[in-house]
């Protein structure tokens, strides 16, 4: 599903942020990518959605070689991948319903289809009663659930979560992780970037550890080893 082949990336001032990364994430896997701040975890995610270019190697997402993807093709790539972020990245002037619907509107989906699917997805994340609220009117945990709903609404095969619990308390953290696990059970490949030791150890899933831009550990039922 996701393949990194000998991928390296250097930032402008000569800092090597990804160093010959070789990584294969299979369909339906739940993978945690861990490491301390600055080890390249977020850069890995940004590479997958075309936000960062890399200097060497090849990246394939769902069979699509995105090594030399053009600017014009990037929106189409992003519509096939669900992404959630630490700071939720919701549109503050749109209601929760409109935030989720937006992901379908960019794909040109019809009004009727949106009216049918969005409430269903909002129900999955437990927010059907707050569809007409604005992001600033709900809690951090609820905002992250809306972000998950938005990421799922066009049924992506891959869901990338970049430190989704970084701004949340413990209770909300575990609620979000449980939601991600539920999504994974439905067949979606999930890549979770985190530096939360307790979450990783509790999951007992594949753990890829990065240090200085390199993979130093890749364990099937891994633990947070740093």
């Amino acid at each position: 599903m996701i393949k990194f082949e000998n991928v390296s990336k250097v930032y402008n001032k000569g800092s090597l942020v990804l160093n010959k990364i070789d990584l294969h994430i299979k369909p339906g896997e739940f993978v945690s990518i861990v490491g301390q701040s600055g080890t390249g975890k977020t850069t890995l995610i940004k590479t997958l959605i075309g936000e960062e270019r890399f200097d060497e190697g090849r990246v394939t997402v769902g069979g699509w070689d995105i090594t030399n993807i053009s600017q014009r093709e990037i929106p189409f790539l992003r519509r096939q991948i669900g992404v959630i972020f630490q700071d939720f990245k919701l549109l503050n002037k749109k209601t929760l319903f409109e935030n989720v619907a937006f992901a379908m509107e960019v794909c040109g989906e019809s009004h009727d289809k949106i009216k049918k699917i969005v409430p269903h997805v909002m129900k999955i994340v437990g927010l059907e009663a707050k569809m007409n609220s604005f992001p600033q009117e709900v809690s951090g945990g609820e905002q992250q659930r809306v972000a998950i709903a938005r990421a799922l609404v066009h049924r992506p095969k891959i869901l990338l979560a970049d430190e989704p619990t970084g701004n949340l308390d413990t209770l909300n953290t575990y609620e979000i992780i449980d939601l991600l696990l539920r999504i994974n059970r439905f067949g979606t490949t999930v890549a979770l970037v985190t530096h939360n030791r307790e979450v990783v150890n509790r999951l007992k899933r594949r753990v890829i550890t990065l240090e200085n831009g390199m993979i130093i550990s890749d364990q099937e039922e891994g633990k947070y080893i740093l």
Partner: protein, 304 residues
């Protein structure tokens, strides 16, 4: 296609309504800019009227021989009236000239005493010739110079030629200065509106980046902002028309007092037959500035 158009309009109107204060400020700046432009037009109209009023006052006084008969004078008058450069010819007889002279200087008794001493009317009959406009003045002077008529006392128009040349110089320079000033104001107005739109879109930069991350294409992101530019321009034009009409109504009586006997009707000028031209042009310009500013401002955040 209709669905996309519907969404562009929906997102644009949603953004305008939900960012109320930003929209209000953008419209206020637009209205102030349009007010400046309209005031420039008012100044241009008033200036043009003033220049025309000065030019209309210019006429040629042709002094005739005191012994010329009425018939001779009428023949000359009809010759001059038929010239294409002439709009009107007025005949002032010796007696009428004297009456006017006495009325003009009635508060100067020494003039009345001097006339009494002379014992006779020293003034001559004259023809006051009004040219159609200042541009044909030189032609008119040349034609009158070529008249072979014994009753014309003097064919020396050197003073007139010098005066006309000065007036033409001044009006040309005033026109050029006004144009330069107008261009500067228009440029300043353009920059103010352009930058206010860019600032408005700067406040949306986070949203633009989020829309990109969710998979929106550049066109899908840019189009609502561009449409908002059109909406702001339309609201601005409607408001300026609503504000400017009463303003002109207030100004009109003062202008009529200043330009006595001249027809300067600003309301007719702005809201009469020229209303579509004036406000249509302003709307087109406002739309152009807004669309260009929106496009370049949004493009900055949709790149990469």
């Amino acid at each position: 296609m209709f669905l996309s158009l519907y969404r562009i309009i929906k997102f644009s109107l949603q953004d305008i309504i939900r960012n109320t204060w930003l929209s209000v400020v953008t419209v206020i700046i637009m209205v102030l800019a349009l007010f400046t432009v309209n005031m420039l037009l008012v100044v241009k109209v008033i200036g043009q009227t003033a220049v025309e009023a000065v030019k209309e006052k210019i006429d040629v006084s042709l002094y005739l021989d005191s012994n010329a008969s009425e018939q001779q004078i009428m023949v000359l008058k009809s010759k001059i009236v038929n010239l294409p450069e002439v709009s009107e010819v007025k005949y002032i007889s010796k007696d009428e000239a004297l009456s006017e002279f006495q009325m003009r200087y009635e508060d100067k008794p020494i003039i009345a005493e001097t006339l009494k001493e002379l014992g006779k009317n020293p003034l001559t009959p004259m023809l006051i010739i009004k040219p159609r406009n200042l541009d044909v003045f030189n032609n008119l002077i040349n034609k009158i110079k070529n008249f072979d008529d014994a009753i014309i006392e003097s064919k020396n128009f050197a003073n007139y030629e010098e005066m006309i040349s000065k007036i033409n110089n001044i009006t040309t320079k005033v026109g050029e200065a006004a144009l330069a000033l107008a261009l500067i104001f228009v440029l300043v107005t353009f920059l103010v509106v352009y930058n206010s739109v860019r600032v408005a879109i700067y406040t949306h930069r986070r949203e633009i980046k989020i829309m990109k991350l969710v998979g929106a294409s550049n066109a899908f992101i840019e189009a609502p902002f561009i449409f908002s530019g059109v909406v702001y321009a339309a609201i601005g034009i409607i408001l300026i028309m609503l504000l400017f009409y009463p303003f002109l109504n207030l100004l009109q009586p003062y202008l009529e007092t200043f330009f006595v006997s001249y027809n300067v009707n600003l309301i007719n000028e702005f809201f009469g037959q020229n209303v579509y031209k004036i406000y249509g042009a302003q709307f087109a310009a406002a739309v152009f500035i807004n669309v260009v500013a929106s496009f370049f401002a949004v493009s900055k955040y949709t790149k990469g």
